[in-house]
Structure formats: C-alpha cells, structure tokens
C-alpha cells in the first residue's frame, strides 16, 4: 500500500480480480428511448475499468443504476455484493460516486464541502484529521481549503469531487466523465490518482466519451446506443485490426484530396487527417492494391502504424462514411477580393475585472481550416463570438472578408455562417420550419429557397424527421440540422463552435468530410474543439490559455516543438501540455522578475 493513500483506500483484503460489480441483463428505458438494452458484464476490484462510448450511449444511465439512483427496468446489478434496488442503503455506503456535473456546493469552501461529506458518511471526528490530511495531500488541494468551490478551476473542482467521493473509503468508485472540462494537465493528475487507488485494490469505473482515454484503462466496457459492443482489455479490441492501420505520410497540401480519395476506396474502412499525413484503416481481409495505387499516384510514403482504440471502434461499427461531401459538391468555388478571410488585431474582451480575451491577433487565409484550441474558460468562445459580431470587443479590431465588425456588422454577418456551441434551433418549430426560417432570415426567396432547403434535407438525411421537433432528434441529427441552417446561404466563411461535441465518432467523421470538402471549395472554416485529435484536421491551430494566444502554428509544427526524451512522438495533447507548462513557467518567471 502506498503511503499517501493509507487512509483513503479501504485497505481491502479482497483479492484482486474478484467481482466488484455484477451487471446481469440490465435494461432501462425512458419513454420510448432504450437507454440500456439488456446486457451483462462484470467489473473487478483492483482494476481501472473504462466505461467508454459516445454521448447518448447510456454511460450515465448505467452509472446511475450502479449507484442506486435509477431503478433498472429489467435485469439486476449488484455492487460489492449488494443488490442496487433491494439493498439501496448499503450501496451508498459501499460506493463513492462523482456525478458528471459538479455536484458539490459552490457557495461552500473546499473544507466545508469535505466536512459535509465526511459527516454524511458517518465518519468519526477522530478519523477526520488523518483522512483529510491524506485527501488534501492526494488531491493537492491543501493550499485551497478555504476557497469557495465555485471559484476553483475545472480541474480542481473534479479533484474536490474525487476527494468527497473518496471520503468514506468506498470499495467501488464510480466517476462519471471526470475528464470533461478539465485541462490536459489536471487530467494527467486525475489519472495518476485513480491509478494509485486501483493499486490499493479499489474498483474504479471511469466513464468517458474520449475514445483515446480507453487505451489507458485496464479493462473497457464499450457502449454504443445502449448496447455493449465490447468488454475486455482495450488491447484485445485493437488487436483485431492489427496490421490494418497505415499512415500516408508527406502528402502535405494534398492531404484533403488524398483523404477524400482514400475514403472512397471500398477497401478503406476509416480515415482521418493527422497533420501532414493521412491515417487510414483497411477493412478486414482487404487487398492492399487499391491503397498502394493511391500511394503511388500521390507520391506519399505508406507507414504501418499502431492501431488506436478509436480505429477499432469505428471498424466495429462497420466503418466511417465515404470521402465525398455532397454538400460541398454543390458549392461554387469561393472568390474573395482579398486573400485574408478573417483577421483580428489586439482583440480584447473584459467582463468587469475579468479578462476573457487578452489582445489576440491573427490572420486567416481564404480556404483555410483554422482551429482554436484550449481548455474550458480559456477564451475560445469569447474570441469566436467577437469574430462573428455577437460580442463587442473591449479593444482591438476584427474583420471578416474585409468588413469591419464594428461598423458593418450586417454586411459582415451576411458573409458568415455560424453554428453555436449550444444548440440554437427552435424547439417549438419543426425541422422543416427551422430550415424555412433560416432560409428566410438570410433572404432566400422563391425557387432558390425551395431548392436550397431540399438540398439540405437530402444531404443531411433529414427527410424522416421533417415533422418532428428538433428537441426530439438524436444528438447527431440536431448537429446536422444546425450545420444545415448555418450553411443555408452558402457563406464564404464558416464559424463552428464545438460542432462535434456530443456527437458519435461516425457522425464526427461525416462532419469533417463536409468541412474538408468545403475548405477545398475555398470556404474558410473557423472551428473550436476540445477533441485534441480533431485539431489535426486544421491547417493551423491557435492555442489559447488563460485568455492569451500561447501558440499559433500548423499541428505538426506544434507537435515537433514538444518532442523530448519522454515523448519521442508526441500527440496533440502532449503538445498542448507542453505549451501550457511553458506558458505557466513564463508567467512564473515574469512574476518573479517583477517581484525582484
């Protein structure tokens, strides 16, 4: 047992690998929606089990069933030997649960929250001191005990949630999407803590929509649309696609065309852009000749690469969409007067004494895919909204296709399409009426309007849903409809604020096919995302951290900058962590210099 967790872990004598949670034929539906479609699985002590799947797969429902907060409609679940329905009280003692949304009191301090949970879990006063010291040490929250929980950063909030969930030494720890809204640095901290706990014999369930996190778990339950698609070590799933993952390297400027061609090959199941390269996954037992021909034609170098969990997941679901965007095909090539589509200089926004965006400057070329990346609260959305003319900058200038957003807001706005981060459709209108409305609001009339709407319905497969309310659509379709509305007037500049959050990986690929196709037609695309791997699709990425622009370069260049002994082949996430850490060091150095 490691020293730091001496008072935290239950000190179990139970053997590693014994069953902690037994799920038998569990089913749960809400109205007509089948959230869990009846599957069985076992979760073991001493292991980190990933509950992985896209949003809406049923992860949270399963979590809530396991922690006794929802009653299954069929089947049973036992946790630490107790039935979640029959022995509900015992479940709350044996398990520690951290809900997806921060569940602690924001108007109480760190210590007050911890005390509350200690007393709710019936801890004696003499146990407090030692446990608190350990937990604060473990979560590194020691210096912040008197800070109100609402004032903590996203990462610190999750650590506090973890500390409260760990309060009574639970045997099973259930963490619902603990890494959402947490910057990569804090996320690493969370992984470290969870690993120490499983080393001490605790069963930890970590649910996540990030498929790359699955690879860090010892065992994975892969959910999709309420069904259990896979149960076992992640390596077992990726082994199925061994020797089927390749990278077409040094395709450079032609990468979008290459990806499009590759995806249209019947032998290719999946493909994504990775900086200057294109990564493809071949179908099972597919012949190599088609891809070899493409490689020869484009002059690329074909490198076999390690399969990823996400590749395997897409393959499991039957592969991604094709490479041609019907939507972009219909676009005319965009002609602009200037080569610069979007630019801003010293753009700043302050809300009271809080600076959300601090003198940000950049220029975006016509036809470029430009990514804004950063943790929650870094200022991405604020910057974005100023560029779209939705927020007035406190200082600085912003231009879209040469039009000043301060003076010619209306003219500039007609040149851009905007897809908001939060769902921005009208719930009281049907899908068709939403399309009608956005066509009308952009001034489309008569035949052009009818044609454009029909085109969107066809491209995004909206026909079966025309009469329903957007609220009732599956999440992927909501996003499709929102994109259709944003593109109705064929704008030369497209702003997408987290277009793929909450969307399953297949729909994400479909979105990127459209985005790539549009960019090839000369549409300028500005995009924010919190999926680090999606940043690889961008021509250039602006990294934002604490309201400032800390880096702006091509994805490959950013990754190259993060190469060190520990990371010979860094990922986008490694690059991000590296940049954030050097930004923090810089800030520290400046603070020291001004102090001296």
């Amino acid at each position: 047992m490691s020293g730091a967790t001496a008072h935290i872990a239950s000190g179990t004598a139970r053997g590693r690998g014994e069953a902690a949670v037994v799920i038998a034929d569990v089913a749960k539906h809400f109205g007509r929606v089948e959230a869990l479609c009846g599957f069985s699985a076992t979760i073991h002590y001493g292991r980190l089990t990933g509950l992985v799947g896209p949003d809406g797969a049923g992860k949270t429902t399963l979590m809530r069933v396991m922690t006794g907060l929802l009653v299954p409609d069929g089947g049973s679940v036992t946790l630490a030997g107790f039935d979640v329905v029959e022995d509900n009280d015992a479940i709350h003692i044996a398990s520690g649960y951290m809900p997806q949304r921060f569940g602690l009191y924001e108007d109480l301090s760190v210590l007050e929250n911890m005390r509350l949970y200690a007393r709710l879990r019936g801890m004696d006063a003499d146990q407090h001191a030692a446990t608190f010291e350990d937990l604060l040490d473990f979560t590194r929250l020691g210096p912040f005990t008197s800070r109100l929980a609402g004032r903590l950063s996203g990462g610190m909030k999750q650590k506090l949630g973890l500390a409260c969930a760990l309060m009574a030494k639970p045997e099973v720890l259930l963490l619902d999407e603990p890494s959402v809204g947490v910057d990569p640095v804090s996320r690493q901290d969370l992984w470290r803590m969870v690993r120490e706990l499983t080393d001490d014999g605790m069963a930890v369930v970590w649910s996540t929509a990030y498929l790359d996190e699955a690879e860090r778990c010892e065992s994975v339950l892969l959910l999709n649309a309420g069904k259990l698609e896979f149960d076992g070590p992640p390596r077992e799933l990726t082994r199925r696609i061994d020797r089927r993952s390749f990278r077409l390297e040094q395709v450079g400027a032609a990468r979008r065309a290459v990806l499009s061609q590759a995806l249209n090959l019947p032998t290719v199941s999946d493909g994504v852009i990775q900086g200057d390269a294109v990564r493809v996954v071949l179908r099972a037992d597919a012949a190599r000749d088609a891809i070899d021909a493409l490689v020869a034609e484009t002059g690329a170098a074909l490198q076999p690469v390690q399969p990823r969990f996400e590749d395997a997941f897409i393959d499991l679901l039957g592969g991604g969409p094709g490479g041609t965007s019907a939507l972009a095909e219909r676009f005319d090539a965009v002609e602009l007067e200037s080569d610069i589509a979007v630019s801003c200089r010293d753009l700043s926004k302050r809300f009271g004494d809080f600076t959300a965006t601090d003198s940000v400057s950049f220029e975006v070329r016509k036809g470029e895919i430009f990514g804004l990346l950063g943790p929650n609260g870094a200022g991405k959305s604020t910057t974005f909204k100023m560029l779209c003319g939705l927020l007035k900058p406190t200082a600085g200038e912003a231009q879209v296709v040469g039009r000043d957003l301060r003076r010619a807001t209306g003219a500039a706005k007609s040149q851009l399409g905007y897809m908001a981060q939060k769902f921005s459709l009208y719930g009281l209108l049907s899908v068709r009426q939403n399309l009608d409305f956005s066509a009308g609001v952009y001034g489309l009339q008569g035949r052009a309007r009818r044609e454009r709407i029909d085109e969107m319905i066809e491209t995004f497969d909206l026909q079966p849903y025309l009469g329903t309310s957007p609220d009732a659509l599956p999440l992927g379709y909501k996003q499709r409809l929102a994109l259709a509305c944003a593109l109705m007037h064929r704008p030369p500049v497209l702003f997408l604020d987290e277009p793929t959050s909450g969307v399953d990986p297949i729909t994400r690929r479909e979105f990127w096919t459209h985005i790539n196709g549009l960019a090839r037609k000369g549409v300028t695309v500005m995009v924010t995302t919190h999926f680090m791997d999606e940043a690889e699709y961008c021509d250039r990425v602006a990294m934002m951290y604490r309201a400032r622009l800390i880096a702006l370069d091509a994805p490959d260049a950013l990754k190259r900058g993060a190469v060190d002994d520990a990371h010979p082949d860094p990922t986008m996430e490694d690059a991000f962590i590296h940049l954030v850490q050097s930004a923090d060091l810089d800030a520290q150095a400046r603070a020291d210099a001004s102090a001296a």
Partner: protein, 391 residues
C-alpha cells in the same frame, strides 16, 4: 455472500450507523450546510429581511383603505352668506382638499383628467332651496365613478358635511329623530394600517416558508448537488428535514422582526402575548413549509417552482386570506375555497392577537386547521419524494 469480509474491513459500527433510517449527526451536518448557504446567499437575506420591511412599509403607508384629503372641487354659484358658509364647511374638513371655483367648467375638466375626484355644486338658488318648506336637494354632487370606493366616499361625505352644517344652523331644520354615535371596537381610529400590518406578516411568512423552500430544493436539483447528496447514506427524511429547519428558524426570525417593526414603528398595538404570536407563527410554518416541500417534490425547476409558489401560495394568501379583501364580502363558492387556504386562519388569529388579545377560542380552531393542512402537505410530499433520480 461476503458480508463477513466487509464487516471486517469497514468495521461494524460505522456501517451500522450509516444504515440508520434517521441519524442526527447527518442531520446536523445538513442543517449546518444549509445555514451556511442561506447566510451566504444574498437573495435569502433579501427575501427574509428586506422584503418584509418593504412589504410592511407598503401596507402601512402606501396602501391605505382610509380616505383622507380627497381632492374635490366646490363650485360656488351663489353669493349668499349661507352658501359661503357651506363652502367654508367643506373647506374646513380634514377629509377633503377643496379646490374652489365659480363655474362648473373650471372643475369639470379636472375631474375628467383625474386631478379631482368629484365636485359639489352649490347652486344659484341655494337660499331659495334652503328656505323651501318641502325639502329640496341643496347641492349637486358629481363624482368620478371609475373609482367606486372614493366616489361613494365623496358622495356620502358631501351629504354629511351638508347635514352637519345644517344641523349647526339653529334655524329649525328638521332634527334627526335618533342621534347615532358610532363606536368602533378593536381599531377605534379605523386605521386600516392596524389591520393590514398583522396581515402582511402572514404574506411574509408565506413567501419565506413556501417560496424560499420550494426554490432551494429545486436549486439543488438544477445544480446537480442533489444527485451527489443522494449518493451518500443520507436518507430522504434527513435531507428534507435538514432543508426545513434552517428555514423554520429564518421564518421565526422574520416574524419577530416584522412584529417589532409593526409595534414600534407602525404603532400597531400588540394586545395579546408574544408567546401566542410565536406559537401561531410556528404552527403556520407547518403548512407553509409543507407546501414548499410539496412544490419541490413536483418540479425540479426553479422557475416553475417559483411560479407554482406564486400561484398556489402567495396569491391565495394575498387575495383569499381575508387580509386585504373581507371574506364575508366574497361570493359563497369563493368563501368555501378560503377554508383550504392556511393563511386564512393565520390572518384571523394574527389580527386577533394584535388588535384584540389572547382569545383562545379564536386561536384553537385556527391552530388546529393550520396543523391539519400542514400535515396533509407533508404526507403528500413524503409520498412524492423518492430517493433516486426517477422522475
């Protein structure tokens, strides 16, 4: 089953305690948490202490059912001494503020524009009418019927002024057969403030008890804190009682504050005992808090909770409790409904304890009714609240 190993690990004592249906230490922890939140939340302080003061001031000063200084015009068409004397009588009363005029035209416009509430015409042939054997109307009274209360008052009072003036002239006008001298009990000065301020306390308590309770529970659902608390060993009863106790204390504190304000600032007498007032308030908080709890069991949305509290708590307490509108004057079906409004019993007892004294035959049925309605609310709320997230 491996219950044996578990007992060894966690120890029997904590496990046992955690599984108690009701644990005082957990309750204390929840009460402590709720109190900290209440103290830190500016809106709680606003509702519990600032709102009562504002309401009491409103009801004490701005809203008055008494009529004083009503603006009327007096058109003096006759120059006779008697007519002048009558005009002076109008000008002399403190209930009217008189604008003198010589012609109707001067004041008619002001009645239309609402500057004056009416006018009295002392006609040219006033002397002749006064002297006539057969009683003839002496003056003409025009009033603004768009405000019926005031119009009635102007008409009646104008009559009164004329009669008093006439009685004061010893010229043999027919004297009234029986002299009536009215005397009002409990509120001898007939100041509506004295009846309104105790009633306002009932409104304040309804807001604190029902609205605040419904809001703070809905807030826990909205912010997701309820999910985390439900996943601990705390029971539903502990969570709910932990919510109620701090707001009970807050309600009692607000009552004391309001009573002090009523007595020392607004000169409302407290003829009954403070103990009776506190007992009444404490018992009224049972239905008020119970209703809040019931609302929060029905909706987990703050906006909806506040709307339901407004329509089911505040408005009935305002309109149907007899605080503002007399129940006896309501149509019979509405009168029946008022029996279901806890504030009705509280208002009746409050007015008694302030203006009459400790009249236990009034209090006891009121207390019983409030307690009964409160218990009903609690029983339904308990049935509707489950310890899970199922809607």
């Amino acid at each position: 089953m491996n219950t044996g190993t578990r007992t060894n690990r966690t120890g029997a004592a904590p496990a046992q305690r955690a599984r108690d249906p009701f644990n005082w230490r957990r309750l204390a922890a929840l009460v402590h948490k709720e109190s900290l939140q209440a103290v830190r939340d500016p809106s709680t302080i606003l509702i519990a202490f600032v709102l009562p003061v504002v309401l009491l001031f409103l009801f004490a000063y701005a809203v008055s059912l008494d009529v004083r200084e009503v603006r009327i015009g007096v058109v003096l068409e006759s120059d006779s001494a008697a007519a002048q004397a009558l005009a002076a009588a109008f000008a002399g009363t403190r209930y009217l503020a008189v604008t003198p005029a010589r012609e109707r035209r001067e004041v008619a416009g002001q009645v239309v524009s609402g500057t004056l509430r009416g006018y009295v015409v002392i006609p040219q042939d006033f002397e002749r009418r006064l002297a006539a054997r057969v009683p003839q109307p002496l003056v003409q009274v025009i009033t603004d019927g768009s405000q019926p209360n005031t119009a009635n008052f102007v008409a009646n009072y104008a009559q009164g002024v004329v009669q008093t003036w006439r009685a004061g002239r010893a010229d043999g006008a027919p004297a009234a057969g029986v002299a009536l001298e009215p005397r009002y009990w409990f509120n001898a000065e007939l100041e509506s403030r004295r009846a309104l301020v105790p009633g306002a306390i009932a409104i304040v308590m309804t807001i604190i008890g029902t609205m605040l309770t419904a809001l703070v529970v809905a807030r826990e659902w909205e912010r997701g804190t309820m999910e985390a608390v439900l996943s601990t060993p705390a029971s539903v009863a502990e969570i709910l009682v932990g919510k109620l106790l701090p707001y009970f204390a807050l309600g009692m504190a607000a009552t004391l504050g309001s009573a002090a304000l009523a007595i020392f600032v607004f000169d409302v007498p407290l003829r009954g005992s403070l103990a009776a007032l506190l007992l009444l308030s404490a018992v009224f908080l049972i239905p008020a808090l119970g209703q809040g709890l019931l609302i929060s069991a029905l909706t987990r949305n703050q906006f909806l909770a506040s709307q339901i509290a407004l329509f089911s708590g505040f408005l009935p307490a305002f309109l149907l409790s007899g605080f503002f509108f007399e129940i006896d004057a309501m149509p019979p079906p509405i009168q029946v409904i008022t029996y279901a409004i806890p504030a009705r019993y509280f208002v009746s007892s409050l007015q008694t304890v302030f203006l009459a004294g400790d009249v236990w035959p009034v209090f006891l049925p009121d207390l019983a009714a409030m307690a009964a309605i409160g218990m009903l609310f609690f029983a339904i709320a308990k049935r509707k609240t489950r310890k899970n997230l199922e809607a």
